[in-house]
Structure formats: C-alpha cells, structure tokens
C-alpha cells in the first residue's frame, strides 16, 4: 500500500513538474504575476511529493518488503539496518529517486530563499528546473519504476552487493548527487539568463553560491569515493581513471572553472557568455556522468545494470537538455553585452588561463573516457586507455595551472603587474627551492617528478599564505591591526586561501605516493613482516561470524624500535548470499603516513599472504580535499550572499545599462 502511495506521489510530482515547466515560463513572457507565482508553489509541492515517494521507498527497504521488486533484488532481511536504508539508493532505480529528491530540494530552496530575485528571473529559473524534473520523473516512471511489485512475493531478497555495504560508499552517492544536481541550479540560471538576454553582476551573485555549494558537495563526494576505493580494494590505490570516477571528475573540473569565471562576471561583468557556457557544460557533464554509465554506451565496474530502453530514453533526455540549451546558447549568446575590458596580465587574465587549463583538462578526461567508443567506430583498432594516457596528458596540464594559481590572486583587476607579483612571491620561490633540495638530497636520484610535485605543492601553499598575509598586513603593522583586518576581510577571501592551501596539501599527498613501500609475503602466525622500520607481528588468524558474512580476521601487532605502536585487524569476509568475498583492510595512520595491511589467501598449510604498504603523506590527499570543501563553505558564508544586494543591484544595473 505504501509502495503504491510512493508510486502515486511520483506521478503527481510529474504532473506538477510539467505545470512548473510551462505556466511560469509563459507567465514570464506575458509578465503575468499570477502565472509566475505558480512556480513557487509547484516547486514546494514537488518537494513534498518526491519526499513522500523517497520515504515510501526507504520504508519498503527498512521493513524488507520483498513484494517490491527493487527491494527483493537489492536487499536482504539479514542486512544491518544502516545498509537497508542506504541500500535504497545503492541501485539504479533508487538512485534516480534520490536524484529527483535532491533536485526537488534545490528547486524548493530557490523558491523559498529566492524572495529577493526579480520575479521573471525566478519564474524562468524554476521553469527550467521543472523541465529537468519532468524529464527525470518521466524516465523513472517509464523505464525505472522503483515500486514495481512481484506476485507472489519472494521470501527473502538477493541482498545488496557486499562491496556496497560500507559506510563510505553508503554516503558517497548522496554527496555526489548533491554536487551533480546542485549544478542544475547554475544551469537553470544560465538558461533563464539566455531567455531573458541579460547577464549582470546580480545574476552572478546568485549563481556563485549555488555553484559553490554544489562544488563543495561534489568535492566531498569525489574524495569519499576515492577514500572508499583506497581502503576497500585492498592494494592502496586511490584513483583508477575508471569511467565512473572520470564521470564525476569532469563536472568537478568544469565546475571549478565556473566557480572562478563567475567571480569575473560578478566583479567586472566580463566573460559573461563564457560563464553561461560553463554553467551549461558543468550540468551537461553531470548529466552525462549520471547517465553514460547506465546507458550501455560505456561499461565499468561501478556501473548499474544496463537496459536498451533506458539507453534510448537517456539519449533523448541528453539531446533535449544539452542540445536544447546549447542551441539556445548559439542563438542568444552572441547578443549578450560584453563587459569590462582587461589586459592579458590581470586578475581576469589569470582566471581565463585557469578556465582554459581546467576545461582542457576536462576535455582530456572526456576523450580518454570515451576514446574506446570513438576509436571503435572510426574503424580503428579496439583500444582502451588506462593510466598511461591520463598520466601523460592530465599531469602536464596541471603543472601550469598550479604555477598560475599562486600568481593569479596577487594580480590586480584590469591590469596587473606580473613582475611585481613574482617579486612578492620570493618567499614561495625560496620554499620551492628548499623543498626540492631537501627532496633531492633525501632521495638522491629517486623519482624526480615526485620531487617536482612536492616543490609545486610548496609553491602553491606558500604563495596562498603570502597572499593572505599581505591582505591582513601580517607582521607589517600591529597585531591588533592585523586582527582587525583579518576580521573584516571578506570570508570569501579566507575561503579562497583555505581552498588553495587544500589544493597544495592534496598535491603533496599525490606526489609523495611515489615513495611508498610495499611488502607482500606469506606469514605464519608468530612470524614478523617488516616494512619501513615497522615490525608487523602476526598473532593469529581467527574465524569470526558477522550479521550476514563470515570472515577470517588476522590480529597483527605493530611495533617500531621495540615499542608497540598499533594493533591491526585486517579481514577477509565472505558473503554467502551473493557467494562473494570482500576484504577489509586495516589502516594505521599518524597523519603523515599510512600503514596499510590487507589479508590475502591462506596457503593451505598455516601461512597467510599479507600485503603491507607504507604510504607517506597519503592521508593528505583527503585532508586537502576537506580543506578545499571547507574553503568553499567559508566562502559560502560570506556576507554578500546573505544580505539582499540582489534586489537593488538589478535596478542599478538596469539604470547603468540605460545610461550607456
């Protein structure tokens, strides 16, 4: 009964979405306030209905209602409660419901907090959101019904893929989708601006916080996914250039570009049509990311089941959404008024460089991901590209970006002084020199590229600090004055510093992975394995039973120089329902390096394969990502997003436009 209610709520939500997509749009064209006001109510109504459907699905999972096909296929009565709940979105149908739920949340937020938006802009933005919602709800109802019933109801379910029964992966999709779907708001604003034919600072002031919020969520989502891969796959890798990972990286790269170009629109009213294009592209890549792996065009480990009917619908959806918005762009963008002029060497110029490099990087990832498809259809040899392609193309693009990220914030708007900026960075140059020299000395002839990477990290880190110190006049005035300056510095500025510091920290973590150590040995209980100065003593391997699995659990005592440092318990689990083994690695970290141990197979005569890694700085990869996201959040809390400038600015802008 509850499942039927959920299904019904989805149908009603679709009807509302169709209404939201059409009436307010017509209303905005006719300047009919009543019609435009409908957008708010339908957006809020959609949130209620979709929440109902989502709750109904979770209810079916929690109560293990196996008469619902989706629950039967993806759940099992013996599963822990947490994974019953998160299992609701660990499959294709459920994840689509989560998607529209977040979309409805965003729509309702625009409706609820958008009181100070011009009525027409708000109506158009919400109408575009309605269109996206209609497409997705249609897709769910026609091809991916999560509430489909089975008669007669089976006794027990097939169980969730054991790999997905993990806290990291359970919460990875919601963050990822918050990111993907959050970009839909920027997209809707872009399309609305194209319909209106006007982009101004107020527009950018609205788009930027949404982009920031989506970007933060996506950053966390990607970091969680990579962290998950790191600790579950059992060999310590954290990024695989897998199609599904690439699908989330591409919107992140372009979204990062959007984040920066929106600043230029806001401060200088330049780069308008480029920013619009980025907003469209970011969400388009999110759509492609959500869908490509479900359509049968590409396959991957993480991919959901493939169904040709879905593929057709997906292609249609992509055609309408991306093709439609880009066509609108082709027609309307040329008439957008250009804004302030700037010299190549200027803050704007640096941000343009940032944009070019980021979008090129995204294009490289895109090509690499889809290359197998292209090569095959051009009649070429069937090829797949792995690490080598990305290592050779992606890294060289990042080097100039990382060099520029240090200089850009020190340049003035309109016309900057490159030499002056570089002179102010003498401290950063010194830091690079010190890091590289120490690196070369310690590793003598080791991986030169990794030393270079660490040098770059030092460059980005120090220069971010230098820029911040200059702003607050650290050390050049009284402590009180510095404190006052720091307090009155916009939070967005602090946020930028924090995010750039995070970038440097992540980079250091990535570069240092070249120095990792690895030991794979067969060890008997009572024996030792040594790695990086640690002695790993295997005490015993015991059989244990979990809720829905059995496992071999090793007890390893780790000591360094005779002192006990940690106890580690790597496991090898076996899930009988799915006949599938998984491994649970044990990680001991001191934040400077990880000791990573995975239990392998038994050799049949009392010995066990133990894989141990020592990974210097690897936790920094995720710590840096958290810094980046926190920087974004800090910037999001900036005063200028919270006060109602957006009301007055459009009038001022209009008056200014009328004046010239």
């Amino acid at each position: 009964m509850i499942a039927e209610l959920g299904h019904f709520a989805l149908i009603l939500a679709l009807l509302l979405a169709l209404l939201q997509a059409s009436v307010p749009l017509a209303g905005a064209a006719r300047r009919d306030l009543g019609w435009m006001a409908l957008a708010r109510r339908t957006a809020l109504g959609q949130l209620v209905l979709v929440s109902l459907a989502f709750a109904a699905l979770i209810h079916a999972y929690v109560t293990s209602d196996f008469s619902v096909a989706n629950v039967f296929e993806n759940s099992h009565s013996a599963k822990p409660l947490l994974y019953k709940v998160t299992g609701a979105w660990g499959n294709h149908e459920g994840s689509m419901v989560l998607w529209v739920f977040i979309l409805a949340l965003c729509g309702a937020a625009v409706a609820g907090f958008g009181g100070n938006l011009p009525a027409e802009l708000r109506a158009r933005v919400l109408a575009v959101q309605g269109m996206i919602g209609s497409g997705f709800l249609l897709f769910i109802l026609l091809t991916s019904d999560p509430f489909h019933r089975l008669v007669p109801a089976p006794l027990d379910g097939r169980g969730l893929n054991p790999v997905l029964q993990d806290p990291g992966l359970a919460f990875h999709p919601p963050f990822l989708y918050l990111g993907y779907v959050g970009f839909s708001v920027a997209f809707s604003f872009a399309v609305a601006a194209l319909i209106e034919g006007r982009v101004d600072a107020a527009w950018a002031r609205w788009v930027r916080p949404w982009t920031l919020a989506a970007w933060c969520a996506l950053t966390i989502g990607i970091a969680m996914g990579s962290w998950w891969a790191y600790y579950t796959l059992g060999w310590g890798g954290w990024w695989f250039w897998d199609p599904v990972e690439n699908a989330s990286l591409m919107p992140w790269l372009v979204g990062t570009a959007l984040l920066h170009s929106a600043i230029v629109v806001e401060k200088r009213e330049a780069l308008k049509s480029w920013t619009i294009l980025l907003a469209i592209l970011t969400f388009s890549l999110s759509l492609i990311g959500t869908f490509l792996v479900r359509s049968g065009v590409l396959t991957s480990v993480h991919a959901f089941a493939v169904d040709p009917a879905r593929g057709t619908f997906i292609l249609l959806l992509l055609l309408v959404a991306i093709g439609g918005s880009l066509s609108l762009y082709a027609v309307r963008a040329p008439s957008l008024k250009g804004g302030g002029l700037f010299a190549p060497i200027s803050r704007e110029g640096a941000l343009v460089l940032n944009n070019l490099l980021l979008t090129t990087a995204a294009a490289t990832v895109f090509l690499g991901t889809l290359y197998p498809l292209f090569s095959e259809e051009l009649g070429g040899p069937k090829l797949s590209v792995g690490f080598p392609f990305f290592d050779r193309t992606f890294a060289p693009l990042m080097v100039p970006l990382l060099i520029a990220v240090a200089v850009g914030p020190l340049l003035a708007w309109k016309r900057g002084d490159l030499l002056g900026a570089l002179q102010r960075l003498w401290l950063a140059v010194a830091a690079v020199a010190v890091v590289i020299l120490i690196g070369l000395y310690l590793t003598h002839g080791g991986p030169a590229l990794a030393v270079l990477g660490l040098g770059l990290a030092a460059w980005v880190f120090t220069s971010a600090l230098v820029e911040w110190a200059e702003r607050v006049k650290l050390g050049r005035t009284s402590a009180g004055e510095t404190w006052r300056r720091a307090r009155y510095l916009p939070r967005a500025a602090h946020g930028m510093t924090l995010a750039h510091l995070g970038l440097a920290v992540t980079l250091a973590g990535i570069a240092a992975s070249a120095w990792q150590e690895e030991r794979i040995e067969i060890v008997r209980p009572g024996q030792d394995l040594t790695i990086a100065g640690y002695a790993l003593h295997l005490d015993e391997v015991a059989q244990i039973a979990g809720a829905n699995f059995t496992a071999d659990r090793a007890r390893i005592t780790v000591s360094k120089d005779g002192k006990l440092t940690a106890e580690m318990d790597p496991e090898k689990r076996f899930f009988p329902v799915q006949q599938m083994p998984t491994s649970v690695t044990a990680i001991h970290t001191n934040l400077l390096a990880d000791l990573y141990v995975a239990l392998g197979d038994s050799d049949g005569s009392g010995g066990w394969t133990i894989r141990a890694y020592w990974k210097p700085l690897v936790p920094w990869i995720w710590i840096g990502a958290v810094f980046m996201a926190l920087g974004g959040l800090l910037s999001l809390s900036d005063r200028r997003w919270r006060i109602g400038v957006a009301v007055r600015a459009p009038h001022a802008a209009r008056a200014a436009a009328a004046g010239d």
């Binding site: 796959l233 292609l315 093709g323 762009y329 792995g386």
Partner: protein, 177 residues
C-alpha cells in the same frame, strides 16, 4: 563569424550525440554482441610467459580452456579475480591469462599479491594478441574447445550467475564432446 563560434558547442554536441546514438543502436552494446570469432579457430599467438617460458595457441590444444585477458591496472579485473580463483581451485578449470598492455613487473606484483588462478600467463605488453582476439578492453574471457576453436566470448567481467548458469554447463558439455 562570431555567430559561428557560438554555434560550435552545439555542433560538437550533435557529433557526440550521433556517436552515442550509433553506439546504442547500430553498434549496440559492444559487450553484448557475440564476437565474430566465436566458432572460429582461436587466432594463433606465441607469447613469452611470466614464468620465463612461452604461451602459444598450440600449447592449449587437446583440452577445454579459458583464456582470460587481464591487466594489473584494471579495476574490473580485480573485481573478477576471486571468481577466477574459485573456478581454478574448486572447478579445476584450466585458465590461461594474457596480461594485456601491462608491464611484466606489474603483472608479477598483481599475481603475487592476489594469487594466481592461471596455469600460465602470456605477456602481451604491446597488445597485439589482444587486437587479434578483438578485445574491447579488459577483462575479457574466451572459452576454447579441444579443437582450438573459440566457443564463447565474455566481453565483460564474469559474474557468479554467468559462471553458474552458462560457463560451467558449457565447459561440462565441451569436456564430454
């Protein structure tokens, strides 16, 4: 000219969409269509093997075997690996691995780390043999009968269901025939 520039994104997208459409309809799922090599004799190959010997088509003759293309850099291969281990250990299926576009040291590390389900591993560092077999990626698995013909092609990681319902019955049938 300016207008043309602004139409570039949509033009690029149309080309892209055409590719997607082609992949979806005309080309179909590259993993779903049976390889044209099925029922054909397996392509001849002769590779150096990981244990310092060699692996050639002729060495497989007279038995029903699996050829599994894999690589240490491929995540799906890691996902598939436990299944292959079970096939080798419990069902005693002779599996021969071909390490596709992989460095010898990496393959070695992969195998020592996870255990080897393979009787022998051929090193296809240049990817030539992969091209001969027409693989679209890794992992892919071929069933070769006693006469050296390809009898089945799995263009994606094997699943437990596939093994139970398709692969094992087929192997039993081929072993009898």
């Amino acid at each position: 000219m300016r207008r043309l520039l602004f139409s570039l994104p949509v033009a690029l997208f149309v080309v892209l969409a055409a590719y997607f459409g082609f992949a979806l309809f005309a080309g179909g799922d590259p993993h779903a269509i049976p390889s044209p090599l099925v029922t054909q004799p397996a392509p001849a190959f002769n590779l150096a093997s990981l244990d310092g010997e060699s692996l050639s088509r002729e060495a497989l003759a007279g038995q029903v075997t699996l050829i599994n293309f894999f690589a240490s850099w491929c995540v799906p291969c890691r996902a598939e690996h436990p299944l292959l281990m079970r096939l080798a250990e419990q069902e005693h299926v002779p599996i021969y691995g071909i390490a596709y576009k992989d460095k010898k040291a990496d393959t070695e590390r992969f195998i020592t780390g996870l255990g080897s389900p393979y009787r022998r591993i051929g090193l296809d560092e240049g990817g030539r043999v992969g091209v001969e077999f027409g693989i679209t990626g890794v992992p892919e698995t071929f069933v070769i009968d006693k006469a050296g013909r390809i009898r089945r092609h799995y263009g994606a990681p094997l699943t437990a269901d596939q093994v139970r319902n398709d692969l094992l019955p087929l192997l039993r049938e081929l072993a009898r025939g």
